[in-house]
Subunit: 456 residues, 2 copies
């Protein structure tokens, strides 16, 4: 029986309406203040005081595909538009905290690898090793066209380019500077040892980068790597590169199947079965009694913009669900590239093609846990037994959903051994895995020392 | 006679050795801590307490060209390698201050325009309108090869690409969202008015960008625009786009000539003569008596790495000066693209080709002001009379050079009306110009309302 504590991330986005739509209207929600640094600093302090492991910033660099024939619905609801960049607010959160991990999302089309490597290494220094990167491959065509592409490359092409992007990053982060290159010796006047700083001279199909890297080895070198791929290619990519996977299984049973498969893939790629932590996305409604919790859930559901939930799901699978009725099924609407999510929906709906009603159910209820602290702890224990290592906590309101989690759930979770009593020291990777750097089995490790000249 | 106060920027870079080389060895310098956020937060707080208008972060995204045949000298001295990204540390400085402007440097090859526009607009919100951008066009070939280019494009080509880059940014910052697009209306549930959010559909020679922009109109919309071009093409670019120009004239007389020419260019481009503020780069050695100041200057000169100064100047003009003697001249060494700086050196050396000794003099002394507070105030008044609006203060040590400026010069500068008594309210642009947004005469203004559909 698995009984180590789970890890907890706050799953947020720098936007008024991230996942549970319509809640920015709630007087208890601060989401309308998302442009203000103070709102995020306040949240980071609350999360650290409450024992959360990290704030995880999702991001999307363009509009979701149309709903009801256009972007107007998204814009009226604030459904991930407007949205701000997550990376540039991280240092303010780092300065306000000491232990909280800070995860940002970025796809390779957003930044040349040299620029991104430097920004992240700067943040790894600034956070003293608490930075993480959620690797995405960009699923919204508008995002690609914002970034100068003619359109979205095919799914497998995106992963192939991402593979080369990571290769360049690993060369810069792990290979360009030897561990002892920095001297900073006031007496001799030698700041660094040039024989231990190397250009990488990367020339590939999609990227070129000369080097040397400009940033000294940072506490983690490579930031902690999150990924959320669910297609076969995506999961293979994840098993090769990631150290944490974000999953949204509709049940512990489904999570177990998915996790076991990915752990098998880890072994196939020469890594050990524990080299990825699995974070299940969940939202919570907690009451002192089950009746109270159910009442709170009914009140929440009245506040949720149901059309917004359908629009978001349609956008995610690339189908405009705006013209469908609740009992219409999704089959005839499927388009290229949605197999992964549609397959999951079919399975979750019991094998057949899901209806819009099924989608709403899935969106609203399957990843929500409602009950007393004890009941919720039981459910989390089920996930833990299924192999889940942590929870990505989805909010209805900021900061209220997290403060409620901290005040009403954390005490019970700690009692039950489902949450840790305090932080482990050092970097985010050390807090989660017990070491500061990627293991020797990770593909990035091959670039350590790879650019050193052979001694004459 | 011009008698408005000057503005003051701290001219820094996220690196151990920016301009006055070798001083990281000084026990009073904190530059070896450049990786630490705390060092920069401490500096920002000192600058604001002391009345500085802005911290101006220079940046270079690659190694300077070789000195003595390779990059080893730069690496040993820490001459702008290592260096960290400036943009990602800004939010921490914003959270620690209320009035200090924060300027970052970036060239177009570092970031697709949509990504950069979003990062800067996020920072304009986060800083409440205190962000500025120093537009550069990238003069180090290694930087271009780091960013995936085969090599450095020709000088005028770089400016042509920068022009289109700015066009895309202006469309996103000024045109995509109408001023009243954001509603954030809890009662109606309308977050924004879709009829006031527009794609930009930019298709140009170098960039494509669909839009709409993802960030709501920020306090300044377009960040305050700095530029430092000195070639004819660069100065024309500056006169069209910039609101502040960084100059490094060797004398007030030279500054006057340069400033008058650029003000003429402003008029040529339909802007008014006061639409650019000129910031002269200067370093200071202050003493209670002139003798004390001269003694401090001698002590400083002993600490300066003279070879480092030559290596830096050679790198800036694209010539490896490592094999030359002090009395050798620069003429035979000149290469493509250095005309601007070499011309300036020639002029400053009295018309002929400068020797290495001249270069050293220029680097070390011509932009250094040494004396008592009164003498320094006199010199700054000379610059003011020549049309200079502000000073970019170059440091020998961080934070010591700035603390000394604040403690020993600012009181006299305030007495003499050469420094303001406090901050004007609002955005950085408002503090400097008295308005939050670019004027109607600026080329960005043409995109305001340009993408709105014509009513039926």
């Amino acid at each position: 029986m698995r009984n180590q504590p789970l890890n907890y991330c706050a799953f947020v986005m720098n936007t008024p309406s991230h996942i549970i739509h319509g809640l920015w209207r709630d007087p208890e929600g601060d989401q309308l203040r998302f442009n203000e640094l103070e709102m995020w600093i306040d949240l980071a302090r609350r999360l650290e005081a409450g024992g959360f492991d990290a704030a995880f910033f999702a991001d999307v660099i363009g509009l979701y595909p149309d709903f009801r024939g256009g972007p107007e619905f998204h814009e009226e609801l604030g459904l991930q538009i407007p949205s701000n960049d997550p990376m540039v607010i991280i240092s303010a959160l780092a300065a306000a905290t000491e232990n909280l991990g800070l995860a940002v999302t970025l796809g390779f089309a957003q930044s040349p690898p040299f620029q991104f490597a430097r920004q992240m290494a700067t943040l790894d220094h600034a956070t003293k090793g608490r930075i993480a990167w959620n690797i995405v491959t960009g699923a919204n065509p508008n995002g690609w066209r914002n970034l100068g592409w003619e359109g979205m490359p095919a799914h497998d092409t995106r992963y192939a380019i991402a593979d080369e992007y990571l290769e360049v990053l690993y060369k810069l982060w792990e290979g360009s500077w030897d561990e002892d290159a920095l001297l900073a010796d006031r007496a001799s006047g030698l700041h660094a040892d040039p024989s231990k700083i190397h250009p990488i001279n990367h020339v590939g199909e999609h990227f070129k980068c000369e080097g040397p890297f400009l940033v000294t080895p940072s506490p983690q070198r490579t930031p902690l790597l999150f990924q959320a791929g669910s297609s076969p290619v995506g999961r293979d990519f994840c098993a090769r590169h990631a150290e944490a996977q974000f999953i949204q299984s509709p049940s512990p049973e489904d999570a177990r199947k998915q996790i076991d498969e990915t752990r098998d893939l880890l072994e196939k790629h020469g890594r050990t079965r524990d080299e990825i932590k699995f974070f299940q996305g969940l939202s919570f409604v907690v009451g002192s009694t089950e009746a109270e919790a159910r009442q709170k859930e009914r009140e929440l559901e009245e506040k949720i913009d149901a059309d917004g939930m359908v629009a978001h799901m349609g956008g995610a699978i690339g189908v405009d669900l705006g013209g469908l009725e609740l009992d219409d099924t999704l089959d005839a609407q499927s388009t290229e590239g949605v197999q992964g999510i549609l397959g999951w929906l079919r399975e979750a709906a019991g094998g057949g093609n899901p209806t819009i009603r099924d989608v709403l159910q899935l969106m609203s209820r399957r990843t929500r846990v409602t009950g007393t602290p004890e009941q919720i702890a039981d459910r989390l224990d089920d996930y833990r037994q299924a192999g889940v290592d942590g929870v990505n906590v989805i909010n209805a309101v900021i900061p209220g959903s997290y403060q409620e989690f901290i005040d009403h759930l954390m005490p019970t979770l700690r009692e039950r051994g489902l949450a840790a009593d305090g932080y482990r020291p050092g970097t985010l990777r050390n807090k989660l895995f017990g070491h500061d750097r990627l293991t020797e089995r990770h593909p990035a490790a091959q670039y350590r020392g790879a650019f050193a000249e052979v001694a004459a």
